[in-house]
Symmetry: C2
Subunit: 341 residues, 2 copies
């Protein structure tokens, strides 16, 4: 794939104008593009500005409402609710993040439940923005069904993304951003193309039996990490992000790909904790540096691959992007330029 | 193993008196035994009243301080801190739980960070007590080092337990309680005794390379679920439960087995959310019943093993224990009776 580099400000402006061409107002487009550009800066290109086109297609057919008003509400000093009214996902995510920050500044903790949303991009841009302001975070979203319950043979839960972030006043924050399947479907497709088998822990066939045959796996279901453990975690995410937020959950979540014109009613959960209430920046920075050092100094199984702290790869790419510009696929850039008239 | 059944009240009284014989006052012993008895009622016998003896041994040699005063403090309306002062773990856990409940009643959320603690038992008794009062929970603890960082060949993080709970006003709560390794060490020991191999995802040899040989695995390290994903989750738990709570973290955590006379300085994190701030009991109960029904009605891969909701097995045992008495191993009961003079 051919990548070009472009300054983050220019990319942000392009993405904003392209999103406006699909019916978003300037502020909504700007908040959305902030998340997508950060995703590209982290190297998460599948969740970056490439989404302008796929979000745009749903905006054009009314699957996402470009004019929706996202409403935030305080349920209690530390709990907030956001009704996305079927707005574009990263906009709902940004409003939820701001609401959680504002309540966490006041009470130490902000727990915000968002409903009536759509795909909100990756988790790490939100955790990163939170960490920059001194907030530790647990953020998650539900997703449309691709995973069968442990022991079942029908997809009834989503490969929900979840992430944790912890700020580091003396260096790099901890950023974990993961989905709950062992492997992505794309990886199984690549194995099929390459004619190789896959580990039995990745997926089941259509009868819910673990398989090493990628062709059978593609007819079946993704497996969650640790079998019943990942199944439980995916359910916990759906309960917090979907059920408690009054959004859809499990099979009630609409599929973006099968019914692109129907609102998904996805839900998100944002938990922010103000670390300044726990100790000084010096105290936290010292501990975070020591934490990273203990991990990074572990003797490596393969000396060519030293132990890393989650977020390290993404933050290295972020720093590179600041200096050299953001890498974007040529075709994606072209689409943005065509729309940003 | 021979099990006997005993009424929960009698078992609680026995465990309380046995704990008092190791130097705890009546109230501390009572709060501790409440957690251990619940563990046995859930069928989690390795974390139940069998621990009275092992906790007791550490109390006798000063590794745990039986007279410690556990102090709870409010850092902000929604954040609390607990200093365990090296008290027995379940007592620290109970104080943290109460503190989190009290703050969550007030602000909607209680996030409590506990330090200077010891092994606090399983997570599910705490989530269960929280759910009975209408609180959704995320609770976790760090642990002494048994897992190597992903790609490393030295144990530098613990097999930390974590759990989620969601109340169900119309039926059974959701209770997830899990550690982050694929399999427990005891399971690898059983494979060695049986002369069978183990899946390569369970553990590494001493050089950090995945192995299917149980003998090599026992010289090496447990693997976390989903490889780098479980590694990241175990770190997130250690950051919230250990680092942010001002407890020990990673290699700073003292090993109970190697240095039983030294305080461990374990840390715990308790997050409680008052679900009554989110909607009515009727609203929540209806959604929770529907959630369970969607899962339980999934066609099963093996019709003999229907799909279950996390917590279902433990809560079935709990109900049985209420009716028929709590199952306890004969030898454990004997120890309690000997101490409870």
């Amino acid at each position: 794939m051919a990548y070009e580099r472009i300054q983050r400000e220019s990319l942000g402006e392009l993405a904003t104008r392209a999103l406006q061409s699909y019916g978003l107002d300037a502020e909504s487009a700007n908040l959305t593009s902030e998340i997508l550009v950060l995703a590209d800066m982290f190297g998460l290109h599948t969740h970056g500005v490439s989404r302008v086109q796929s979000y745009g297609e749903r905006l054009l057919i009314g699957g996402i409402n470009g004019q929706a008003e996202v409403r935030a509400e305080r349920c209690s000093p530390a709990i907030g609710k956001v009704d996305g009214n079927n707005a574009i996902g990263p906009l709902v995510g940004q409003v939820a993040l701001q609401q959680a920050m504002s309540q966490a500044r006041e009470t130490g903790v902000g727990a915000v439940f968002a409903r009536a949303s759509n795909h909100f991009g990756p988790v790490s841009p939100y955790s990163f923005l939170a960490a920059q302001q001194g907030f530790a975070s647990f953020i998650c979203s539900n997703a449309s069904t691709t995973i069968a319950p442990w022991g079942g043979k029908e997809a009834r839960l989503g490969n929900s993304p979840m992430g944790f972030g912890v700020p580091n006043p003396s260096g790099e924050p901890f950023l974990l951003d993961m989905a709950l399947s062992v492997a992505a479907r794309a990886k199984i497709r690549r194995a099929l193309e390459a004619g190789t088998s896959i580990p039995e822990t990745w997926a089941t066939d259509r009868d819910g039996r673990p398989t090493s045959d990628p062709a059978q796996a593609l007819k079946g279901f993704l497996l969650a990490i640790g079998g019943h453990k990942g199944y439980g975690l995916a359910l916990a995410v759906d309960l917090f992000a979907g059920l408690l937020s009054d959004a859809a959950y499990l099979t009630h979540v609409q599929s973006w790909s099968e019914n692109p014109e129907v609102p998904q009613n996805l839900g998100h959960f944002f938990l922010l904790i103000d670390t300044q209430r726990l100790g000084s920046a010096e105290w936290l920075g010292e501990r975070m540096q020591d934490f990273a050092h203990i991990l990074q100094s572990t003797p490596a199984s393969d000396p060519q691959n030293p132990v890393i702290v989650p977020g390290g790869i993404e933050l290295k790419k972020y720093r590179d992007a600041l200096v050299y510009g953001v890498e974007v696929e040529a075709g994606v850039l072209e689409h943005l330029q065509q729309r940003a008239v």
